[in-house]
């Protein structure tokens, strides 16, 4: 085979792997959105079949040999050209998939399946002790997986790299160390200020109008309805079956007019990224989004930098007053804007506001690295959790259900994932600073509901690169520097000192 034929063959295989991934995503989406109860067992078998086919394709000797041959023809795999990059990423993906022996994969799948079931029960029963052995087992298996990727500075590095290629544990530590005291300080200033009334949010808001509102805003942000749709699901998510079919789900709360809307803005941010991925790299090894943190930066940018801004409130509030005249007729724009930005240290990560969210992540990161290093044992977790929640946020959960048992991640084997949420927050502010510096007219345009320049800038600077660049390289290419907490801190301080008047 000539090199050109080898590349063609490589791309055939990556396209098939990509299609199997899309089919897997459809099986899951349908399960969350449509599937009747009785379909569960068959759906499990169908998903396992596709997962097995994708695994076999991703780890085949044929694929390994093709990549090896193509890599040997490239003098510098780190060169900044498309072809070198494609082979480098193909090689990295292949190594990641093929280095873990098949029997260890099966062991891991079985362990997470058992752990997930145990977690559901433990959480319902507030019984951490029954989950503890599963947690220990999951972390032991993850540690074994990490060891296959030596050498590293820290055993957490290879796990983090599954979500953030090129990122190091020491980088995350340094960022969080810079962030922590200043977020604590900000929270103290807020706590000492006069508190804000947001009782207008907590009324009965009819679902039909909530649905209209979310649909309207997603469309205004630029979500392409020819290539997507919004459905109901218990837990909101975004999924993609290809660049032409990127779907959002949402759910409505009865006594909260903002929860579904912010969730929809968040998922729209994810979806705009997936709809904007490059056709050029589509279905190749560079066809995926750059990383989880980059993805999260998109959802957070639309949800927070846009959606929770004073400028956007000027556009949004009249629309909401029209839809909900009895609820909002006597609320002023200033009350609305300050109300939806009320800060309230809470026990639950997914309910956290912008000022507190990162603190939840730091706690989890410290626990993950501690367990992996062996400096913590699973049995220490409830105590550590409660002590640090008090230290960081000034609240202590009454039980483990609302504490250490609240998240699904560890039971699913997701260790190394949490930091991407906080990194996404930081990157969103870095992108925003850069974007607004280049286009100072953007905030004014938002007051009129014009978001076209924001989307165009993200398309141009982020979306269209798919995974042509590693996340840190992409951030550097855009901002000229590394992931940096300063823009986010500047943003938070400016915003909340104005809202809370300190």
């Amino acid at each position: 085979m000539s090199s050109a034929e080898k590349l063609t063959k490589l791309r055939e295989i990556t396209a098939e792997i990509s299609r199997l991934g899309s089919i897997q995503a459809l099986l899951e989406w349908d399960q969350q959105v449509n599937m009747p109860h009785g379909g569960a067992e068959d759906r499990g078998n169908q998903a396992a079949l596709i997962a097995g086919l994708a695994f076999d394709k991703s780890t085949s000797d044929e694929l390994g040999a093709l990549i090896q041959d193509l890599a040997s023809e490239i003098p510098d795999l780190d060169a900044d050209d498309d072809f070198a990059r494609e082979i480098k990423v193909a090689k990295r993906n292949y190594d990641r998939n093929a280095r873990i022996p098949r029997e260890k994969i099966i062991e891991f799948v079985l362990a997470t399946s058992a752990a997930h079931e145990a977690w559901v029960k433990a959480r319902a029963d507030n019984d951490f002790a029954s989950f503890e052995p599963h947690l220990t087992h999951i972390f032991e298996l993850r540690r074994q997986q990490a060891e296959l990727f030596q050498p590293y500075e820290h055993p957490y590095d290879p796990l983090l790299n599954e979500y953030e290629p090129g990122m190091k544990t020491s980088d995350v530590r340094a960022i969080f160390a810079a962030l922590r005291p200043r977020q604590v300080e900000l929270l103290r200033a807020i706590a000492e200020s006069e508190q804000i009334d947001n009782s207008f949010i907590k009324q009965h808001y009819p679902f039909d109008e909530q649905r209209k509102l979310g649909t309207f805003i997603a469309g205004r942000f630029g979500y392409d309805w020819e290539r997507g749709r919004i459905d109901l699901a218990a837990h909101p998510f975004t999924t993609s079956f290809g660049v032409g079919d990127v779907r959002i789900t949402t759910r409505f709360l009865d006594r909260d007019c903002m929860s579904a809307l912010f969730s929809t803005m968040h998922e729209t941010g994810h979806a705009l990224y997936d709809q904007g991925l490059s056709p050029k790299y589509y279905e190749t090894s560079l066809g995926q989004p750059a990383s989880y943190a980059i993805h999260e930066s998109q959802s957070r940018l639309w949800e927070n930098l846009v959606g929770r801004s004073r400028e956007f409130s000027r556009f949004l509030f009249p629309v909401m007053q029209m839809l909900f005249p009895q609820h909002l007729g006597n609320v002023t724009l200033d009350q609305f804007y300050r109300g939806i930005n009320r800060v309230e240290p809470s026990l639950i990560r997914v309910e956290a506001d912008e000022a507190t969210y990162n603190m939840h992540i730091m706690l989890r990161f410290e626990i993950e690295t501690g367990l992996l290093e062996g400096s913590l044992k699973a049995s220490d977790l409830p105590d550590i959790w409660n002590t640090r929640m008090q230290e960081y946020l000034g609240v202590t959960p009454a039980d483990d259900t609302n504490g250490v048992l609240q998240d699904v991640h560890w039971s699913s084997g997701l260790v190394g994932y949490f930091p991407t949420y906080a990194l996404g927050n930081l990157i969103s502010a870095q992108l925003w600073e850069k974007m607004v510096a280049e286009h100072p007219e953007i905030p004014a345009a938002m007051t009129e509901g014009d978001f076209s320049q924001i989307l165009a800038w993200l398309r141009e600077n982020v979306h269209r690169y798919s995974s042509r660049y590693d996340p840190l390289d992409l951030v550097r290419k855009i901002t000229g520097g590394p992931i940096d907490p300063e823009p986010y801190l500047r943003y938070l301080n400016a915003k909340y000192s104005e809202i809370y008047r300190f």
Copy 2:
């Protein structure tokens, strides 16, 4: 490998093929029900990938050798036991799939793809001439496929057998020859009678109430909502992703209160069969429904023998009067029953009533066998079509769009399929006669909306056998004889002589 191990391996493979089929069905269902326009190209690639995997699995040498080995251990493959039957059907399926060379399959897929596109255009433009070469090509390829299955009495036999295992062209001819003059005679008697007013059907009926009605009736028939759901699609169909997830689609017409309802009853009949397939044979070679005609007998039985009966009208009509008081408040039960059973020879098969439907099928069967024998050329079709429509139904289409171009089947390569619709009608009446003879209380129960005995009888006598028996054997097992037009003719004559008073 021991025989037991070989059987286990065979069942692993058939289960995988079955799961790929379910995944394929989900890809198609989602495309019809949910998929945004932009997803079409990716969806095509995903479906082609799964189809290719299923083809490879269904035709692998490994599977062929397993079946060969197991078959050689069975003294009599025609024996009436589960194991012999399983291997016999596995062998038949394998032969059917593996005998056609891969390149001929690809040629056929490409030809039907082009033919379908040409048909859509030809139908829109009333331009049969542009479709004619595609039709000739499709029939030529189907003839070549048939030849691979020599010896046979008639080249149509192997095509028919794809849908009706064991059925012969000569059987269908004999049945249709008995049927044709007596259906023509019945239509003459109806035409000479006083005509029936059904104008109450042709009003604006709100979709929401139509939806409630269809959902209510499907549930009363016994459709299990834990294992299914109803959605909207342009063309109603039923699909199954396993015995625990059998979905129906429907669509509502603005100015017709019965079309969606009858369509839902029809699809519910299909779905009840799929929900009732045997767990015992599930995912083995015997796990599929017995045949297309048996499937159609189920849909027709619920749509017609139940849904269009005077007894059912006594239950249905008050419900409809409650839902549509302004439309039906001044209609009597007798007017309703006679109105929904009005006979009207029409040009379009899918709009045909019980008295005329089979005539549409006979015409198509004659054309298919004629083209395959070479006694007809594609260019003859418009003339033949129009002449026979006049002869059988007394109507002549004004153009080919409403004549020979109306059906999608031939452009999709479906040659040999049409007779199953008429055979399904005949079998539905045979089953009904037998069922009511055994349970004479069934008609009275229908007036009260109690259909439990009907479903129980079908479960017991039809559904639970999956494809344990070939269709003709199943009909013989239940009724003691072959497929027989007499019960259907008795049913039609009794029904319409009462309605039309002749």
